[in-house]
């Protein structure tokens, strides 16, 4: 594959320049940059170093000059001491006596006076302007003048000054605005008598200063005396370059001035300083010289840098050339690139390009291969996944040790283990138990030993266990997979419990009809009996036909009708002793009619018995009701009977006493009659209720019936603290009823209501009985109580037998009631009252119409 040689254009110029040339250019550029940078940085650094150095040197020079000056002053002091102590002066003073009152002027000498030794001894050392001799009073007695300078007036006149100065060895002072050095020394005569002082007077002028420096004046350095208070020079070593009286500020333009104080010359009242002046021109010259030197060094450094850099790059490019040649050969041979890699231009860029291209090429190739591989893998994986997921069989792959390594969704469903649970478990332990596990391991061994076998031979039926422990049969096939370095088995399993069951069911279904105890027959559209099971014999004899014969005409017509309409038809037949219910069902598309018979003889008998039983129950219930009420009635009866007895006894007693009138007795007798009637009434009612009566229907006013019932329960109601409110319709409500039965129903309802009322506080108890006419055809009787009501759950089961909410109830009352009412073609319903409590409604057909007719 040829290399795609694409180059970024903006670098093309750079690329064309060969590397050595480029390295020279870069070297030069870098050199210049280094130069420029150093030029910026170095002089400044040098200047600061130079200034520091200069300062040190100036300081040193100043100190040196001062030391020299001090030494020169010391020379004067020594000279003064020498002269004062010289034998010649002592000898001279021996005879002299300075009288205090003398008014003569001092003696003036122009040549060497007699009190001084030869001038050769000391004049080479010092050049004072005058040498004075003073007496103890400080008066000048003799003056030796050297040179032409007159004695300053301050010395000539002012003795006080001299007196004040005499004890001082060396003193620097100004006389007449000129600086002078005065040195005094005690003068003694030969006998040791103190005569006065010898004083050396030296003007500090240019000569003095120059002499103090002993001609040592490098680079034109000057010294001077500076009046520090006024900042001006009093004298200098060079009168021309620095005239006296010049101000310090003026001098600083030409010189660098270093001033030092004369600390050792005590007594001076003046603030004089010793100044060392270095001419600026000297400093500048020095600085230029340093800068020049530095520039030269810089040039050398830059040149060296450029040379070394260029050399290194040149060698590098040579090496690169060789590499490029080899790369080019490799490119042509291995990658099949037609283009030679070496081109004119920068070798480094060429190499970089080539590496870029090479990397890109490798990357592309690798990506391509990866994609190809991935696509293949993905496809195969998808295919496998699809097979695994959609397979109706459980597909489980296990490795050689029997550990599950793959487990498909169908297997999850079939065995109940999730994939995560199953993976890593031993297959035989997870799926099989006991015998099957053993069989499976044998199968596995078998599969390994015999390689080529027909697939059907490899199917086996085993018993598998679900996760929840359920056992079911599976069909199983094992396929060994020989991978490169390992062996695996794919096991296909199929739950065959359904198939088994269906097989069984089909088998059992076949027996189904023949086993049925009920008659089952099939006839075709012409009425021919195609099939009749064993239980059908009695029916066949009823129809008077055998199997494979046709039905009687009536039934043939029915068969035709049923097939025509496509709807079921149900009927009953009574043959001999049995009663059958028959259901004829058409199988329209096949043209058959199935006849399902059911022997309902027993059912009928049971029904009849139930009816009889219910009658019995009504009676039993009535008796039990009566039994319960008998207690009440006994009490009721006791009341009038006791009253009768009381009245009778009372009457007898009164008659015996004969102290009462006949009126009392008559009253009591009337009461006796009434109470006896009351007792009789009660007994009558009791008799009416007790005793089994055959149902007798007669027309009666329902209001009368209700009233009667209310009087029965009067006692019970009173006991419960309830007054029964009777809301009757105004007119009569004739109904045709068995009065005793309806009374029974009403009694039942009222008793229930009273029971309910006992459970609530007495002042809330209310029981209402309403009668009314409904649409002329119905009579409605309603029993309303204010009790706790009936729970919704109980409401639905209210009329079920033996369903009761009472502790002592039989659960028969409402059942019997409903039976009675329904016997009368009426209905009885219960409902919850909105204001609380229960309402029972009885609807009975009115007898109005009959009476109208």
């Amino acid at each position: 594959m040829p290399l795609p040689l694409k180059r970024p254009q903006k670098l093309s110029l750079l690329r064309r320049i060969p590397m050595p040339l480029m390295s020279v250019m870069i070297g030069l550029f870098c050199g210049l940059v280094v130069w420029a940078l150093l030029d910026q940085v170095q002089p400044q650094a040098l200047r600061s170093i130079f200034n520091e150095e200069l300062e040190t040197r100036l300081d040193q020079q100043a100190r040196e000059t001062l030391i020299r000056f001090d030494n020169y002053v010391l020379a004067h002091t020594s000279t003064a001491r020498l002269l004062a102590n010289h034998r010649q002066l002592a000898n001279y003073l021996e005879p002299v006596y300075w009288f205090k009152g003398d008014t003569d002027g001092p003696k003036q000498y122009r040549s060497t006076p007699p009190w001084l030794p030869g001038s050769t001894l000391w004049q080479s050392l010092v050049r004072p302007s005058h040498i004075l001799l003073l007496d103890n009073e400080g008066r000048i007695r003799e003056i030796y003048q050297l040179g032409e300078r007159p004695l300053p007036d301050e010395l000539a006149g002012a003795t006080e000054l001299l007196l004040s100065e005499q004890r001082v060895q060396a003193n620097l002072t100004t006389l007449g605005d000129r600086p002078y050095l005065l040195i005094s020394e005690t003068a003694e005569d030969a006998t040791g008598t103190e005569m006065g002082f010898l004083m050396l007077v030296a003007p500090i002028d240019a000569q003095f200063l120059a002499a103090s420096q002993q001609g040592v004046s490098p680079n034109g350095v000057l010294v001077g005396i500076l009046e520090a208070d006024e900042q001006r020079f009093l004298a200098s070593s060079d009168q021309f370059r620095l005239p006296a009286q010049r101000l310090l500020s003026a001098a600083e333009s030409d010189f660098l001035v270093t001033a030092q104080s004369f600390s050792e010359y005590e007594g001076s009242t003046l603030n004089l300083q010793f100044a060392t002046l270095v001419p600026r021109s000297v400093v500048e010259a020095m600085r230029d010289r340093v800068a020049g030197l530095e520039r030269r060094q810089r040039l050398v450094a830059a040149f060296t840098f450029v040379s070394v850099f260029t050399l290194i790059f040149f060698l590098l490019s040579e090496r690169l050339n060789k590499i490029l040649q080899r790369v080019s050969r490799f490119s042509q041979r291995a990658l099949g690139s037609k283009q030679p890699v070496i081109e004119r231009g920068n070798q480094l860029f060429v190499l970089e390009d080539w590496i870029h291209q090479f990397i890109q090429l490798v990357r592309d190739t690798r990506e391509e291969m990866r994609q190809q591989h991935e696509t293949e893998m993905h496809e195969s994986e998808m295919l496998k996944q699809a097979i695994m997921e959609t397979a109706l069989d459980s597909i489980i792959t296990i490795d050689r040790r029997g550990v599950i390594i793959e487990y498909n969704p169908t297997a999850e469903q079939t065995f109940g283990h999730s994939r995560e649970e199953a993976l890593g478990r031993v297959f035989a332990e997870l799926i099989f138990n006991g015998e099957s596990r053993l069989r499976f391991s044998l199968l596995l061994a078998d599969v390994l030993s015999s390689r080529d076998r027909h697939p059907d031979e490899m199917r086996h039926e085993l018993t598998a266990v679900k996760r929840d422990g359920a056992v079911f049969p599976v069909e199983l096939a094992i396929k060994p997979i020989r991978l490169k370095n390992r062996l695996a088995f794919t096991i296909y399993m199929h739950d065959i419990s359904n198939r088994r069951r269906i097989e069984l069911e089909i088998r059992s279904l076949a027996k189904f009809a023949s086993e049925s105890p009920s008659p089952i027959l099939r006839v075709n559209r012409r009425g021919v009996i195609l099939y009749a099971n064993g239980a059908s014999d009695q029916l066949l004899s009823y129809w008077g036909c055998e199997r494979a014969q046709t039905l009687p005409l009536y039934w043939r017509n029915r068969v035709t009708d049923i097939l025509g309409s496509g709807e079921d038809w149900q009927t009953q037949v009574i043959c001999a002793t049995q009663v059958y219910s028959l259901l004829l069902t058409p199988v329209v598309d096949l043209g058959y009619v199935n006849i399902y018979g059911r022997d309902i003889t027993a059912e009928r008998e049971a029904e009849r018995q139930a009816r009889e039983h219910q009658q019995e129950l009504i009676h039993v219930s009535r008796l039990s009701t009566m039994g319960e009420m008998a207690t009440g009635l006994a009490h009721e009866l006791n009341q009038p009977l006791s009253a009768i007895a009381n009245y009778a006894n009372g009457s007898v007693r009164r008659l015996q006493a004969s102290d009462r009138g006949a009126e009392d007795i008559l009253y009591a007798l009337g009461q006796i009659t009434a109470q006896a009637d009351r007792a009789g009434e009660i007994i009558k009612r009791l008799r009416a209720l007790v005793g089994k009566q055959t149902p007798v229907r007669r027309v009666a006013d329902i209001n009368e019936v209700v009233r009667e019932v209310c009087s029965f329960v009067e006692f019970a109601a009173r006991k419960a603290g309830v007054v029964i409110e009777q809301e009757f319709s105004l007119g009569t409500l004739p109904v045709r009823i068995d009065v005793v039965q309806i009374e029974q129903v009403l009694l039942n309802l009222i008793r229930n209501a009273l029971d309910a009322l006992l459970e609530i506080p007495e002042d809330e108890r209310s029981l209402v009985i309403q009668t009314s006419c409904r649409e002329g055809k119905w009579v409605l009787i309603r029993v309303l109580d204010s009790g706790a009501g009936i729970r919704d759950a109980d409401m639905g089961r209210l009329f079920e037998p033996f369903y009761t909410t009472k502790e002592s109830g039989m659960g028969m009352g409402l059942v019997i009631s409903r039976t009675i009412i329904e016997d009368h073609n009426g209905t009885i319903t219960a409902e919850q009252r909105a204001e609380g409590g229960t309402c029972f409604s009885i609807l009975l057909p009115s007898n109005n119409r009959n009476s109208d007719e």
């Binding site: 006791n638 006791s642 009253a643 007895a645 009245y647 009372g650």
Partner: protein, 207 residues
């Protein structure tokens, strides 16, 4: 028998029963008052009244037994005769336990009833006089000083004067003086009379 003040109270919800009883009892010249319910009776009765109570067991509202219990709670001593329509045994036992003097079943013999009433009246009379006596003795006891009380207790316990003196730390003479004052205040003529009084007042029982 003080029949002028004593009244027979008849409580029965049945008016015929009430009136016939009144008719019967009045023949022997006793005062009769009738009430239709227990509540009505409680309203008009005050404990001081002499007489006996004829009570029907079964009544709406407060029953006869409940009324009886009420009397026991209120500490009212009135002889009660229970009348019942059907002499069930548990109820009669309850009534007798609650202190009923008699238990009569309906319909009843008039002689039996009247005899029972007479007995009840006598009992009432006795109870009343006993109560009056007790009140009298209590009033007398109230007059005693604590020390006299102490002495009386010891005397009635059969202690000799000397024993009392040493127990109380006083002289026998002082005890004698106390004793004399006790006898005087209690209006006892002899030691036996004093002991009887103390027992009648149920003094020790009350402690």
């Amino acid at each position: 028998m003080n029949s002028t003040n004593a009244t027979v109270f008849v409580v029965d919800d049945d008016s015929a029963m009430r009136n016939s009883l009144k008719w019967l009892i009045e023949t022997v010249g006793m005062k009769v008052e009738t009430f239709a319910s227990a509540e009505e009776f409680i309203k008009s009765y005050y404990p001081g009244r002499a007489g006996c109570l004829l009570l029907d067991v079964r009544m709406p509202g407060m029953s006869g037994l409940e009324l009886q219990e009420y009397f026991v709670r209120q500490n009212i001593l009135i002889p009660v005769i229970i009348i019942t329509g059907h002499g069930d045994v548990p109820m009669s036992v309850r009534a007798m336990k609650a202190g009923a003097v008699d238990f009569i079943e309906k319909p009843f013999n008039d002689e039996l009833l009247l005899e029972s009433i007479r007995n009840a009246m006598t009992l009432d009379q006795d109870q009343r006089s006993l109560q009056a006596e007790r009140a009298e003795i209590a009033a007398r006891l109230a007059q005693l000083t604590p020390r006299e009380h102490e002495v009386m207790e010891m005397v009635t316990n059969g202690k000799a004067n000397k024993e009392i003196a040493s127990a109380l730390g006083v002289s026998a003479k002082t005890v004698e003086a106390h004793r004399a004052r006790v006898m005087e205040k209690m209006e006892a003529t002899s030691l036996a009379g004093l002991v009887k009084m103390v027992i009648a007042a149920n003094l020790y029982g009350d402690h």
